[in-house]
Structures are given as structure tokens and as C-alpha cells.
Symmetry: D2
Subunit: 138 residues, 4 copies
């Protein structure tokens, strides 16, 4: 069984992502996390569009980011996205961004499932359970 | 008849809207134009949501922006939004942003109408013609 | 002595802040927190520009956001920003966003001080201690 | 002599770049143009950082964008960036974005040179003339 599901996504800092301090504006790291998360989702069949096709949305209900070092315009970095298994009807990912093997920041997002009416779904949708089986998590 | 329909919208530059040059990143002016345009739309009953209620979207097909002076973090400015009448099935606005009566930039946007299938609508929708009558343009 | 320093800032959701789910994209709440934080800073003399004038930057080292309810385009909301006193050389704020007295989200940011060379400052800068005295915190 | 200097840059649409209409928000195309422009600049030695090292900034004074077809989340596209020679002290680029050989949008940006005091430079800086010689434009 694979308890740790991780992928690595390469990114390059855009000019428009930097602020007056000439570093990446802190909120833009959530875009990098999202790029990592969706890269994971596309590779593993659990992306935003996979959920949508099954009639669900997966809105973020919690996000955290801790910054160790800044990134500047033009920097190339790698987002490590890790799927964290949980029994709850949630999708949890953790993130670590590296530049030249130096840790830039860490973070976490928690997503829930909502149905076509936007209502919170309290039990794991069957498409998600099927995915967990396929991936070897249950 | 009112040939010139203008409103003024006050704005304050956000920190996250400024770039490494410590001025507003050029693409963010389109957000300011949008704020002016929607302010006009809400006041005059021709907003994004008014179109939506009538089954139409009004995507932007052209936008231009010319910069005369920069804006910095914390600057307060005014967006002047002017509806430009046209017979075509389009919505045209021009914009001028001022700070302390100095002209910061000018711009223009052109929108078209698309129906619920996302198809371009070649004739003016009846809700838009009704609006033009109400406003005294036709 | 005033142990709780809070202000309220009114905001209106911009069209460009909403995502494909037709709700505010989660990362944009950090912009709303920033607007509240800077509003606090300007009113109380501890803004980004106040730090800058004294030779310091105050980069964010941690941010969290928990979402209870979504915001949609055109929604008007209030950001409650609270300064959380600490002895450490940090600036901590918590946030609560309300719409019509319903809690939309909560959050926290932690900032540190860096000097003109971008180096972390381990002790509270004198301008910050002076501010704390003035505000009645020490 | 090379009269047409073009490069191609591949991009993938991010979730956070799409709006409530589930298409890329029009202002985000300026980010794609910027990515193409900087890609050109890095390859040809005329990037934002090359200008900065020589004591100049190159702020955008005009940008236009014309949309033919929308892009959606997950779409992969190519930005074609073309340097347009001019004798004026300006940097002009045109852009075309394609998806599967279909034209998505076209655009143009005009940049000027400002010196370390933020003042407009009316003549071509020597580093820019040197670059033009090197590239075979003069």
C-alpha cells in the first residue's frame, strides 16, 4: 500500500507575482499550491475536472502557508504536493516548495465535497472511494 | 437625450496590486476598469448580473489601456467610466483614471453578447434594446 | 490598557476575484485580510509604509484561512482585523470576515521584521516598541 | 538582417486564472503576454533584469488585447511573442496566442525607458542600442 502519494511540479516565478518588496506576494503561493494540487489530480485522476464530471465540487475550506525564504522574479522552484489520506470526507494535501534544494515554504489545504446544489456532502462520494481503492489507499 | 453616460468610482490601490517597480502592475488597471464598469452597470441596471438574468453573458473582446502616470500603493484614485453608444450588438466603455485631477491612464473595453450556449449573438438582445430605450439612447 | 485592538473594513467582491465555481477564489481572501491589516495600520500608524519609513519591511511568514461560507460576485462584506499582542518580534493579526452578520471565514497572519538588507531582525525595532507604548500595550 | 524576432512560449491555464464564466478572465492574458515577453527577453538578453542591471526600468505605457476565442481551465496554449523594431526609444512587442493552431487572441504592448529616478528617457539607452546591433537590427 502506498501511504505517501507525492508529485513534483516545476514552476517559474512570474513578474506579476512579485510585490513592492520584489519578492513573491505571499498570497500567490496558494496559486503554486493549486498548480501542484492540480498536477497531482491530473496525473492521478482526481483533479477538479474529475470531481466535476462526477457532479461534485471540491472547495477549499482551509489553507495554511509558512514561509521560510522568499522567492524572487525569475526564480525556478519545485512544488512537492503530497496527498494525505484521511477517513473523513475531505481531501488533504501538504506542500513543500524548494529552490535549489532549499526549503522556501510549506503549506496545507483541506477540501470538502459539495454537490450540484452547493450543499456540503458529509460522506465520501463513491467516485472518491473508487479512486482510493484504485490508488491502493483502502 | 443623454449622449454621454458617465459615472465616477473611487478606488484605493492595494498592496498586492503593485509590482517590483513599486507601482501598480499594468494588468491590474483592467480590474479598476471592471470595477468602474460594474459600478456603472449596477447603477444603471446593465451589470453582469442583469445580463445573466436575461440569459446572456457579455465577454470582453477587446481591451486597451494607455498609461500616463503611475499609481503607487495607498494612492486613492477615481475611475471615470463612460458608456459609448453604438448601433452594433456591442457594449463599449471608455475609462479615465484620475488621481488629484491628474490623468493616470485611459482605456476602452468592448463586450459582445453570448447566449446560454456560449454562442455569439449578432443582434442586440431585447433586454439591451429595452435598456437603451429606458436610458434615452434610442 | 487596550488588550484588543480591532477595526472593521468594508469590502465589495470584484468580478475578477471569483473563480469557475462562481465564488471568491480562496487565495483572494488573503487580499481581503491585507486590506483589513493595512486599514488597521493606516489608522493606527503601523502600516507597511510606517515600517518602511523606519527602515524595515514586515514580510508575512505565516498565513492561515478557514472558510465557513462562500462569497459571490457583488457581495458586500466586512473584514474585522484584530491586532494580537505578543512579546516576540512579530506582528500578529487575526481576521474574521462577515456578510450580513454571518461568518464567512477566519484567518491569521504572522509578520516578522527585516532590515534594509533583508535580514531578519530578532528584537523588536524601537519604532515598534514606541508604537506599542503609544497604543498602551506596554 | 533579421526583421522579425519571434519566440514561442508554452503555457497552461491555471484554475485561479478563470472567472465566473469558466473562461480565462480577460485581464489575465496580459500575464500570458508578459510571460512571452520575458521569455523573449531572457533568450535574447533584453529582459526586465537586463534593463535593471543597466539602470533602467521599462514600464508598460500601452497594452491592447483582442479576444477571438476563450480559453478554459486546463487548456494548453502557445504565446507567440514578436519584437517589433522601431527607431523611437520604445520597446514594442506583438503577441498571438494559439491553442491547437486556433487563434485565441492577439495583443500589443509598448514600453518606454525610465532611469533610476523614474524619469522618462527620451533617447534610446546605450545598452539597448548595443543590443539592437548585436541582434542585427541596426
Amino acid at each position: 500500500m502506498n501511504n505517501k502519494l507525492s508529485i513534483h511540479t516545476k514552476l517559474k516565478v512570474r513578474f506579476s507575482e512579485c510585490d513592492s518588496l520584489q519578492i513573491v506576494w505571499h498570497g500567490n503561493y496558494l496559486k503554486y499550491f493549486e498548480e501542484g494540487r492540480e498536477d497531482f489530480g491530473v496525473q492521478h485522476g482526481i483533479s477538479y475536472l474529475d470531481a466535476k464530471v462526477n457532479g461534485f465540487a471540491t472547495p477549499i475550506v482551509k489553507s495554511t502557508c509558512e514561509h521560510k525564504l522568499p522567492l524572487k522574479y525569475g526564480d525556478e522552484c519545485t512544488v512537492e504536493t503530497t496527498f494525505i489520506p484521511t477517513d473523513a470526507a475531505k481531501i488533504i494535501y501538504t506542500y513543500r516548495i524548494f529552490k535549489d534544494e532549499k526549503l522556501i515554504c510549506t503549506g496545507e489545504t483541506v477540501q470538502v465535497f459539495t454537490d450540484k446544489n452547493g450543499e456540503l456532502v458529509l460522506n465520501n462520494p463513491s467516485f472518491f472511494l473508487d479512486w482510493k481503492k484504485k490508488i491502493g489507499l483502502i
